[in-house]
């Protein structure tokens, strides 16, 4: 369980990135953090693995205050995958990248077993002796994921996982996130990718100017014009299309976000006669 209690955070430069934020994420929850650049999303999630400690208030991971834990202790519980894999990878080979995490976390006993499992899970066996930097962007992303998730953390934080990924890679990520969720892991995703988030169907928390603007499900947030505007999010194409149909043609239900919902609404309200 992650608990954020009245947390404020001010960077050494004097910029306040979080203002009195409180929230609770239970074990096994799937949560998306959304909002404009500079809203405090990354600052918030960096508190979950202790990369940042609050200026005011406290963060509890499984009931323990993060100020009393080292990043090493926390990273066994909370795995953090950065947006840009290149900011995270450094080892000579894919295999060494994964070994580094396991050794660092003191998991020497079943190192070999955990390593092979991670290589298999992310389809990296054939690249084990290659340099991560000789791989494609999508493959490097898989190495970054494997190097964090090999330690089997209970909570996984993904910062903009779909940036620069094509449809095939996005679908792989989607499957992976669903798998983590079904295994009972807590997954927190920072993302701008409205369509990807619609497909994942998580609880959504939007941050604006360091404060929580809203906390609800996909329909509450991503089909709500006012919340989208305040959060600087662009609506999914389907949602925007549904709004335009309402303005120019006929009213439709106001919470349409998926292809199937729109087709259903069109058949009921607009083209019933031509079928």
């Amino acid at each position: 369980m992650l608990e954020v209690i009245n947390v404020s955070y001010t960077y050494p430069s004097g910029d306040t990135a979080l203002k009195n934020v409180s929230l609770k994420i239970s074990d096994g929850e799937l949560v998306a953090i959304m909002g404009p650049n500079g809203a405090g999303k990354s600052t918030l999630v960096k508190h979950f693995n202790g990369l940042l400690k609050p200026s005011k208030g406290k963060v509890l991971v499984d009931g323990v205050n993060t100020t009393n834990m080292t990043v090493a202790e926390l990273s066994r519980k909370v795995g953090f995958v950065f947006q840009n894999a290149d900011h995270q990878l450094f080892a000579e080979t894919v295999e060494k990248e994964i070994e580094f995490t396991l050794k660092n976390l003191g998991l020497h006993e079943n190192l070999e077993e955990l390593k092979v499992k991670a290589l298999e899970d992310f389809d990296l066996i054939k690249y084990r002796d290659k340099s991560p930097f000789s791989l494609s962007g999508g493959e490097r992303k898989r190495v970054a994921l494997a190097s964090v998730l090999c330690a089997n953390p209970k909570t996984i934080i993904l910062d903009e996982p779909t940036a620069g990924q094509d449809l095939v890679q996005k679908n792989n990520l989607l499957e992976l996130i669903r798998r983590f969720h079904s295994e009972g892991k807590t997954v927190v995703i920072v993302s701008h990718d409205v369509e990807f988030i619609v497909d994942i169907n998580p609880r959504i928390i939007t941050l604006v100017n360091g404060e929580i603007l809203c906390d609800g499900d996909v329909q509450d947030v991503l089909a709500n014009k006012m919340i989208l505007e305040y959060s600087s999010l662009t609506p999914a194409q389907i949602t925007e299309f549904a709004w335009r149909i309402c303005e120019e043609l006929k009213p439709l239900p106001n919470n349409i976000i998926t292809v199937d919902q729109l087709i259903e609404a069109l058949k009921t309200h607009i083209i019933g006669g031509s079928l």
Binding site: A163, D166, H192, I238, R244, S274
Partner: protein, 281 residues
């Protein structure tokens, strides 16, 4: 004469056994705005490296066929010369911006061309005005947002007054609002300057209001090339696994369930028009 022409072009990188692009035949006229798409590894980036001469001058390998840009064979020109005809913008502006401030960044290209000072200043002013960068001229690139950095990268390509602008996933690292603004800017530049633009992008829906032609690649070959409505409703698009905009998926599914469409909509406005026609039937 087309501005860009590929005749039976194939290329494989020095260390590779497989062709990255194979049997490419392509003609692009001045003023076209083209979306180039396909799954990762399909050869998109290799194709545009052939246009600005990075292939074969920088990336070594086996090049077959003939590439002509503005009447010049790329094999017979230097990358420096070709850069005055072809500007390039990459995915990650932090890898592209090299100078201490935006002004120096914009001056970098024209100074390297050896242009007179007055001409350099004119070009910087003109470009900064057009791209609304005047208030940022003394900022360092790291002080800028991702969207602003990408605008600077586009501006610095434009100071060389190229006829062609190539962009390799220019919005991949931008938030949705900034991404939309960059694509709008490209649409405006295409119209105002008759600039020929080829943009590689996975988020196809961003470009639907602007592009008149889509080129779809798979395994190094062009598998579809035509108007967005032709290409994106094709079986090839479905098969290649590109991210077909969801509006198009709605109409494709409606068609499959027996709804009659008199045209294939690709934009929201076209979608509304198609429904208006249908609701009258």
């Amino acid at each position: 004469m087309p501005l860009i022409e590929f005749e039976n072009v194939s290329f494989k990188y020095g260390d590779s056994e497989n062709y990255a692009i194979k049997d490419i035949n392509l003609k692009i006229d001045e003023g076209e705005f083209i979306l180039l798409t396909g799954s990762t590894g399909c050869g998109k980036t290799t194709l545009i490296r052939c246009v600005n001469g990075l292939i074969p001058h920088f990336h070594q390998g086996v090049l077959e066929g003939k590439i002509t840009v503005n009447g010049y064979l790329t094999t017979e020109q230097t990358v420096a010369f070709l850069s005055t005809i072809v500007g390039v913008v990459f995915q990650n502006p932090e890898n592209q911006l090299v100078s201490l401030n935006v002004l120096r960044e914009l001056a970098f290209g024209p100074e390297n061309m050896g242009l007179p000072r007055e001409e350099i200043n004119n070009r910087i002013n003109e470009t900064a005005e057009k791209l609304e960068l005047k208030h940022l001229l003394d900022k360092t690139p790291i002080e800028l947002s991702g969207g602003e950095q990408q605008r600077v990268a586009i501006a610095s390509a434009l100071t060389l007054k190229p006829k062609i602008l190539l962009l390799d996933e220019p919005t991949a690292n931008l938030d949705p609002k900034s991404a939309k603004m960059i694509i709008e800017l490209l649409g405006a530049l295409n119209k105002a300057l008759n600039l020929t633009i080829i943009v590689i992008e996975h988020r196809l829906e961003l470009l639907m209001d602007y592009v008149k032609r889509v080129i779809l690649m798979e395994h190094g070959r062009i598998i579809a090339d035509g108007r967005p409505a032709e290409v994106l409703y094709s079986d090839e698009a479905e098969r290649s696994g590109v991210n077909i905009p969801r509006l198009i998926r709605v109409f494709k599914k409606l068609k499959q369930s027996g709804v009659n469409l008199i045209f294939n909509p690709v934009t929201i406005s076209e979608g509304v028009d198609a429904l208006k026609v249908m609701s009258r039937c």
